[in-house]
Point group: D2
Chain length 339, copies 4
Amino acid sequence: MMIVIMQASATMREKSAVIAWAEDAGCHVHLSEGNERTVIGIVGNGRPLNKEQVERMPGVERVVSVLKPFKIASREFKPENTTFPIGNHMVGGKGIIIMAGPCSVESRSQIIETAHAVKEAGAHILRGGAFKPRTSPYSFQGLGEEGLKYLAEAREETGLPVVTEVMEPALVPLVCEYADILQVGARNMQNYALLHAVGESQHPVLLKRGMSSLIEEWLMCAEYILSHGNTRVMLCERGIRTFEKYTRNTFDINAIAVAKHLSHLPVIADPSHATGRWEYVEAAAKAAVAAGADGLIIEVHPRPEEAMSDGVQSLKPERFAQLVREMKAVAQAVGRDIE
Amino acid sequence: MMIVIMQASATMREKSAVIAWAEDAGCHVHLSEGNERTVIGIVGNGRPLNKEQVERMPGVERVVSVLKPFKIASREFKPENTTFPIGNHMVGGKGIIIMAGPCSVESRSQIIETAHAVKEAGAHILRGGAFKPRTSPYSFQGLGEEGLKYLAEAREETGLPVVTEVMEPALVPLVCEYADILQVGARNMQNYALLHAVGESQHPVLLKRGMSSLIEEWLMCAEYILSHGNTRVMLCERGIRTFEKYTRNTFDINAIAVAKHLSHLPVIADPSHATGRWEYVEAAAKAAVAAGADGLIIEVHPRPEEAMSDGVQSLKPERFAQLVREMKAVAQAVGRDIE
Amino acid sequence: MMIVIMQASATMREKSAVIAWAEDAGCHVHLSEGNERTVIGIVGNGRPLNKEQVERMPGVERVVSVLKPFKIASREFKPENTTFPIGNHMVGGKGIIIMAGPCSVESRSQIIETAHAVKEAGAHILRGGAFKPRTSPYSFQGLGEEGLKYLAEAREETGLPVVTEVMEPALVPLVCEYADILQVGARNMQNYALLHAVGESQHPVLLKRGMSSLIEEWLMCAEYILSHGNTRVMLCERGIRTFEKYTRNTFDINAIAVAKHLSHLPVIADPSHATGRWEYVEAAAKAAVAAGADGLIIEVHPRPEEAMSDGVQSLKPERFAQLVREMKAVAQAVGRDIE
Amino acid sequence: MMIVIMQASATMREKSAVIAWAEDAGCHVHLSEGNERTVIGIVGNGRPLNKEQVERMPGVERVVSVLKPFKIASREFKPENTTFPIGNHMVGGKGIIIMAGPCSVESRSQIIETAHAVKEAGAHILRGGAFKPRTSPYSFQGLGEEGLKYLAEAREETGLPVVTEVMEPALVPLVCEYADILQVGARNMQNYALLHAVGESQHPVLLKRGMSSLIEEWLMCAEYILSHGNTRVMLCERGIRTFEKYTRNTFDINAIAVAKHLSHLPVIADPSHATGRWEYVEAAAKAAVAAGADGLIIEVHPRPEEAMSDGVQSLKPERFAQLVREMKAVAQAVGRDIE
């Protein structure tokens, strides 16, 4: 269903061409003639319409799509919240899930030490990067499969399920062997080959919003994954890029409520990337809980000043433990809980 | 204090010219010679240095200011929070202040009805626009002085102090006669003539952040007001303009914590403009409380579907009353309260 | 004329309410019922419709305005280009107008020296700021009326008409005494009191685009001026604020062609602010000519490294003279000329 | 080389810790003590320094990197322009290269017809997408290898070398078989696995700037490719995402001159994506030539209103031919030429 707004100067011939296009496509047409504009409503036949073709027709000023471009991801398709268990915890329900751990897996001892610390502080899931997308080819790129093995060991020791990033389709099977949740990073949100691969994997996915993605585009990327029958998708708001540079990103707190309004998928917030500085992580984390997030993913490092990446935005375990206590209070204030 | 990074190709003569400029300005100079760059540290003499002049000198790659450009507004200047009473309530203290009311004063009965409703729901201050900045010259521009009179009447009936916008220097005295707080709108944040006038008025000021203002620029505008000895300035985060258009603005929740970190001034959040749609106001308001805001300003209208402006983002009184109850719970969870 | 897209879940009662609203407003209604959505077309009665009221009605998903919000500024209202003389030159015609001079008037000798230099290099109009909007209250704020007098003297000596900024309504009469063109700065684009004042002055106006203004908002501000019967308005694209910080602003070169497409008003480009660094001014200036600009305003200073403001983006007179020669060649290549 | 700005409140112990860190890393330290701040200059030992670790140390306010993060891509590394032949034409020299063709290869006849048309109009290289990154999983995703075969056939018929997008590392060898230039799309600019793969391929690469990439990040991605010894990299500016939505993207014309200033690599402009509407492509294309672009990539379709993608921004062959004539005139005006 589309609405075609004709230019004021559009001729009868141009209007007729649009109507003919619509009828050829098997659509119904509604015509509204105002003093200054003609508007043509095109009611489809079930198949998607190629809006761009109409936009390019002579005399057309603009075309408005009536329907949202995503389907399976939408609340209209599935009104109730999507929930599913990860380990012993349910994602998308009343309980809020806490994922925590270092930016990068740096060594066996570092990840195991951190896993114990975040578990004790109340985290439900361990995060840690084995394959790292880095701006510079000269920066530490992660330990690779070795890092995955350490993550698996940390899981064995603590019982915490593991979320870790996968950066290319060819590595999806490998990462699936070790991880409980596949993270698609912000830079790869529109890496469609990767979306297809994680969709096919049937593994739970944490889909980070791209740094300049519209909420609608983010949901379209979820749709790519869902269209493979993989329903266990979590959306992750991690801040967007704006003119403001005091913080690393601008935390789009509105996006949490909007995504939950438009979609049934759980929404996780990443206050570490959304602020980029540990001093602001706590305020952002509590705000996310108050705004309705279903979970948080927070960077924690035992010695942030020695971290190989993202130390600036990592909390120490004690601060993290304190934050979990504070988030619990906020969760209760908004009718949720953190187990 | 400035740091001058010279180009790799800078000549000895070019370096000497920078040093001579600094010494002529009565500054001390520290030289760091690396393999690839020379860096010149310039330690000032107490007077502001003209960074731009150095940037324009041959061989200079860039100049980094060490000090923040705002002084009186900074926490370094005044480490403890600024607090002051408005009516019977203290702004900037443990209590969170709630300002509420319609976008525009539309009639005597509308503003008085709304004032009673928001008071009953728990608001401490009445908002309402008499002079309205409107994108179109053909839209309702506010009732002007008549609107101010109705606001004053509403204050008399309810005891609620009044905040209203002033749009030009010449009208500051008139607005001061009727209002308890002068609002400087987002579009006028860098209207320096207006900043001078509200600074001289010695009236409390609510300074909205411009829609594309850096946090630093916002604090510089507070500095304009403070530099007239007017210390009762509240900062107001009301959303910034970004690529995301699903919401009217992007609520920069980070900015609350950052502004409180950099400055001693109270920070108020405006979830109505920050989202632009009433469905999302509640999530944003609770998030602001969780993030540390000292107050909120919220649009409330008894019949939003008849509002002459901003009806889309206005809450009905019942929803607002419910929201105040929820915000109270969040406030307590973060160690604050709403009386 | 508006199109109302109802939510999928909208009830018959909600649809009827929208239709009743439209009929009460004296409008015609067209109904399109698709499988998934109902769309209601509202054809107006000549008076502006309050879109926001409909947006707030229950069951409404969104409302699309069919008509552009600006009228007198639009090409539909006036298809042919607006042209008018400034001094001996016609703005908006085949010839491209060059305005040049320092950011600030710093002294009598500085402005007179610069006026001679830019005239000799080929400029048609002298620019120079007497009242300066500065981010910091501690920076040089301009010479004020003294600066205006020096500008008038420079005009007398060289014959170049003068463009200078006016920052508050109360000063419009004073600035009109001395200046040939009133500049409304980017920070004041939506200072509506100022727009009314310059509209009433009947003086030619150079309206800079706000740093985060939509093209449509910029044209609405022109509409404010035009609505006072002041038809001599020039639009000025001076760069917008984006995430990219290597340059001071992002030159929205597209906006030149778009503004000329939507409006009949002349469009001037400001490559100095659009780049913020003199090294890039030349490329931007030539690009603006190639893209169809009707004029340029360029900062020139005899000794940029001593300038009290904007030295970094100011050209020296020799570079400027060379640039004028190069712009002439580009102008000819696109069927324009620079006299 | 880094500059560490300590907080005003930094203790002697905190300063000593930074100095100790630097000395442990084998660096030299320069100390500047001002009245209000201490600044520590750290001169490295040739190996990259981990700026983030220092940023996380207590008492540190911020850290400024003196050196640019890219090396092989920089003009400091290689002052003269990079040039290399594609087919019979030299990229990066005095001549400006024109790439043209449809967004998608839709059929054998369509691409061959278009190839003849753009060749006749003056294009040097044929563009056409076989693998298409599409926002929706339900949109046409390209013909895949079949499309590559048609492109190769078109090359055989016309002699035009072919540029086409590759979207995943596993397909690089296949695309290399058919294409002369590998395009890395905007959405994949930071798909590091893909950058490594095209780097290793030793095939010429057209690297599109990500829609929210800093110029510096774009050059870092070029560095990824260059670091594999693949020196034939072209940068492509295709518009960035901003708040302005009238055009599909905001053409960052400044970025052309900046990229050429910072790097020796050729810079290509894509006016089709940078505007998103065919009406504005011509102005943008001529502006790009005037601003110093080394080439253009332009979407041309024989029947845009039937195109399966991007018809709105595609020129018809006649308009394209006219545009090439106009660009030739602009090229000559700025001392370049189009053969």
